[in-house]
């Protein structure tokens, strides 16, 4: 129990004293996962909507692949990304391994199927005649997509939160492709694992609390947007 209390106190001290290293780690966590989530939003919402609203041969196969992708083990993603990015791999010339960019790539690969799958379900659950009605109102294809997305705002924002949640808490792939390098590719999750491995439980708990705090804060903002009353 005192370990938890110690952890809380340490977390507060680290944050309020603006400990440089902790701030750096925190900022990097938010940057990496934030960017990865943004990428996954662009890819996930656009593809998910396209698949949801279009009929094409083999559609069921594509949908099942997307749904399976939602359960893609992050560690597996990390392993494959490592193999692709390392020096002697196909993309070795880009020198991306052990960089935050590699972490963004791995996290984006993890988050995109999640966002895509939920978007797909959300758009499919809209009444099928709604699309016709919106077109009948004279909407261009872009206008129609925008209106449909607003209609599906509740599940779409849930998709954002699911995607973000999946990657900000991710550690296996991040360690593998990032290398947990001090001051460079170390994020809250990888630092927590390292400190735990070293036996520094108070620091580990402090970092965990900081992570939980930011996760909660961001989800609070997103939830408020999701649930807000429709304005005039």
């Amino acid at each position: 129990m005192d370990l938890l209390v110690d952890g809380f106190l340490k977390a507060a001290r680290l944050l309020f004293s603006l400990d440089r290293e902790v701030l750096g780690i925190t900022l990097l966590s938010l940057q990496v996962s934030g960017t990865a989530t943004l990428i996954s939003l662009f890819l996930g919402i656009s593809c998910g909507t396209a698949v949801a609203l279009t009929a094409f041969p083999g559609r069921n196969l594509v949908v099942s692949i997307i749904n399976a992708g939602m359960a893609l083990p992050p560690v597996v993603v990390g392993l494959f990304v490592t193999v692709f990015l390392w020096r002697n791999g196909p993309f070795g010339f880009m020198e991306l391994l052990y960089t935050p960019a590699a972490m963004i790539i791995a996290q984006a690969i993890i988050a995109t199927p999640i966002v895509m799958g939920i978007t797909l379900a959300a758009m499919q659950s809209l009444p099928s005649k709604l699309r016709l009605q919106i077109m009948a109102l004279g909407a261009t294809r872009m206008q129609m997509l925008w209106i449909l997305m607003q209609e599906a705002r509740l599940p779409l924002l849930a998709a954002v939160m699911a995607g973000f949640g999946g990657v900000i808490s991710e550690v296996g792939a991040s360690i593998m492709v990032g290398g947990n390098i001090k001051g460079y590719s170390r994020v809250l999750t990888t630092a927590t694992v390292m400190e735990t491995g070293r036996g520094n439980f108070d620091v580990a708990i402090a970092l965990s609390i900081i992570l939980l705090f930011f996760v909660f804060l961001i989800n609070l903002v997103l939830t408020l947007i999701q649930q807000r009353e429709r304005p005039r």
Partner: protein
């Protein structure tokens, strides 16, 4: 409609700023010449590299990516040309790496020692036993719990050597448990379960306060933990940073850095964690 747009714009701005600053850091680092150093978690956890790496970077302008993994993985990275230089402490595996042609210029850097720690009441009664081999035999005979890292790390390799030297086949025994974890965590498991384990002195000293484990055997020559720095052969792997790897290896055996190694840990633990050995012969160590 307006208020939704505002908060969305705000969110987008925040993210864009974060993203932008993140990207610029990444680009900067990529432009510098990077050296990939593969080393072990115990080396990293001792904190020595946190002192040495900044010194090296300042001196040479290289950006070092320290990847700390188990010895096995570090060797494998070297063998695959995914690291430029290795700092490891697994002599048998290192010799194989050099014999296979992947490692060159293997140079002695420093040593520290392993110790056997265990519960305060020492149920296997190994305290006072001079020979580590004998101590291990006593633990086996008493069927007392022994925790192994089981991760092909240098520590694990050393531990296996001792079992072999003691003539004990420990793998299948019930009292022998492998955690697959780092040294710090394994120590914690040993403390929780009141078992024995082999550890490097540095990690033990760092965690001693909260552990509740005592040093029960030390000093035997077999327990010496010897660190070498190995450069990777560019003939095998042309893409490695030859100059960077060499610069780091030279740095580790340089006079002034060896002095830094000699004094590391004294103020925190009252005793040095490592003993610099550059230029010496392995056979002379520990005497």
């Amino acid at each position: 409609m307006k208020t939704i747009s505002i908060s969305k714009i705000f969110l987008a701005l925040v993210v864009a700023i974060l993203f932008m600053s993140g990207m610029s850091e990444t680009l900067q680092a990529a432009e510098q010449k990077t050296v990939i150093l593969a080393t072990t978690t115990s080396t990293q956890d001792s904190g020595l590299l946190d002192v040495l790496i900044p010194l090296f970077e300042k001196k040479t302008g290289y950006f070092v990516k320290t990847i700390s993994v188990g010895s096995g993985q570090a060797m494998a990275m070297g063998a695959k040309g995914e690291a430029d230089v290795l700092l490891v402490h697994s002599p048998a595996a290192e010799q194989k790496l050099v014999a296979d042609g992947f490692g060159i210029n293997r140079r002695l850097v420093m040593h520290n020692d392993f110790i056997i720690v265990g519960p305060l009441d020492d149920p296997a009664k190994i305290k006072g036993t001079k020979s580590t081999r004998e101590a291990f035999k006593k633990i086996a005979a008493a069927n007392r719990l022994f925790l192994s890292r089981g991760d092909n790390s240098g520590t694990h390799a050393k531990e296996k050597d001792v079992w072999k030297a003691a003539g004990i086949n420990q793998e299948k025994e019930k009292w022998y448990q492998q955690t697959g974890l780092g040294m710090g965590q394994t120590l914690n498991v040993a403390a929780e379960k009141k078992g024995y384990t082999l550890t490097d002195r540095a990690t033990y000293l760092a965690l001693k306060k909260n552990l509740g484990l005592d040093i029960l055997n030390e000093g035997d020559a077999i327990l010496l933990n010897i660190y070498h720095v190995i450069e990777i052969n560019p003939v095998k792997w042309p893409k490695i940073n030859v100059a960077g790897g060499k610069a780091f290896a030279d740095f580790m055996v340089a006079r002034d850095i060896q002095d830094v190694i000699k004094t590391f840990g004294v103020d925190k633990f009252g005793a040095p964690l490592f003993f610099p050995d550059a230029g010496k012969k392995v056979e002379d160590l520990g005497k």
